[in-house]
Symmetry: C2
DNA sequence: TTATATACCGAACTACTTGTTCATTATTGT
DNA sequence: ACAATAATGAACAAGTAGTTCGGTATATAA
């Protein structure tokens, strides 16, 4: 990819994330993004069809780092997720979130938009399906699997939200414990 | 309140709800509302500061019917909520949702906006706090109460969402069972 | 019935946002 | 050096939010 394209794309993403940590997604305008990214209006629209597409692509890029190793089971990452402790997948997620490498926390905060949560939950569900045996003890045979998967994914999201709202004072290990106790 | 005011307010609410069941909240415009309600633009703004305020007030009106009896414990409604079966509060909520008297389901569907869910969860939390003994058996003493309350409220919302997404084929009794098994 | 208050009307208006167009300029990969 | 392509910036149409105001209809009270 052309270096100019790469730099522009990077500038847009970075401006977008900066704005997301300051304002609500819905009240961020394209004008604000291009001002902060210091690019022309036409350039923005050459890269992203709409603001929603920008969010979608940002999500894909963020989730790629967090979820891909688990979902597609890249051998070189397997040891991170599938080691002895059965709760290590979720522990790893919480640890990743705490580092907040790619400002994913700003997107998860409750003032932000439903679109992001949809992508996030959709990825989570895929992950949960792979980890279902983990929760076999808790699951009742009367519950449909899709209900159960949705429930676990939603509980994860709500756990993260609670963690953020309460200042993230707990360690990832403690939060993992909360999550597993709740789910 | 002046009859004219009442009628205008009613027309706005009813137009708004009709639009909500057809489109996403975010893409409903004030222009569409006043067209459907058949009122002047200035009149709308005399009643509601913004579209978000309209949603807020609609929520308050809807929730009033569903939650007030439980929260403030009006004696004349007590029998509905505090009868023998301990899960009757939630069963009653699910039954109320199934009837969809005031089109609350349209607002709960996932394509709609975060604002509504915030109000809904906020009311649910108050309800859950009053019903905490119900879940004493499941709760671990290691979990902070606020975490537990948030978790139960979120699980309720997600249960309703799953119910809607799956065509609401289950009876309120079955859904209540799912909810209590999950939480 | 009359008088007064007030809610509604509607049209115009400002300011802002979105998304597009296009001729010009700068940068890139080869 | 050159051809391809990305970025520029300014202008543009269309749509939206929210306000203003003089005039009209309706409610309420005497």
């Amino acid at each position: 990819m052309d270096r100019r394209q790469r730099k522009t794309r990077e500038a847009i993403f970075s401006a977008f994330i900066a704005l997301l940590s300051a304002r609500d997604y819905n009240q961020i305008t394209v004008g604000q993004i291009i001002d902060k990214a210091d690019i022309g209006r036409a350039t923005f629209y050459a890269h992203f069809e709409t603001k929603d597409f920008l969010l979608k692509q940002l999500c894909e890029e963020l989730f790629c780092h967090i979820f891909d190793a688990t979902n597609h089971g890249h051998p070189e990452h397997k040891h991170i997720f599938n080691c002895d402790a059965p709760d290590s997948v979720f522990l790893h997620l919480f640890q990743h979130l705490q580092k907040n490498d790619n400002n994913i926390l700003q997107l998860l905060s409750c003032q932000n938009n439903e679109l992001f949560l949809q992508y996030f939950k959709s990825n989570l569900r895929k992950l949960v399906v792979n980890q279902l045996p983990l929760f076999a003890a808790r699951k009742s045979e009367h519950l449909p699997e899709s209900f159960w998967v949705d429930h676990i994914a939603a509980t994860f999201v709500e756990t993260v939200r609670w963690w953020i709202d309460n200042g993230m004072t707990q360690s990832p290990e403690t939060i993992t414990e909360y999550f597993l106790l709740a789910v």
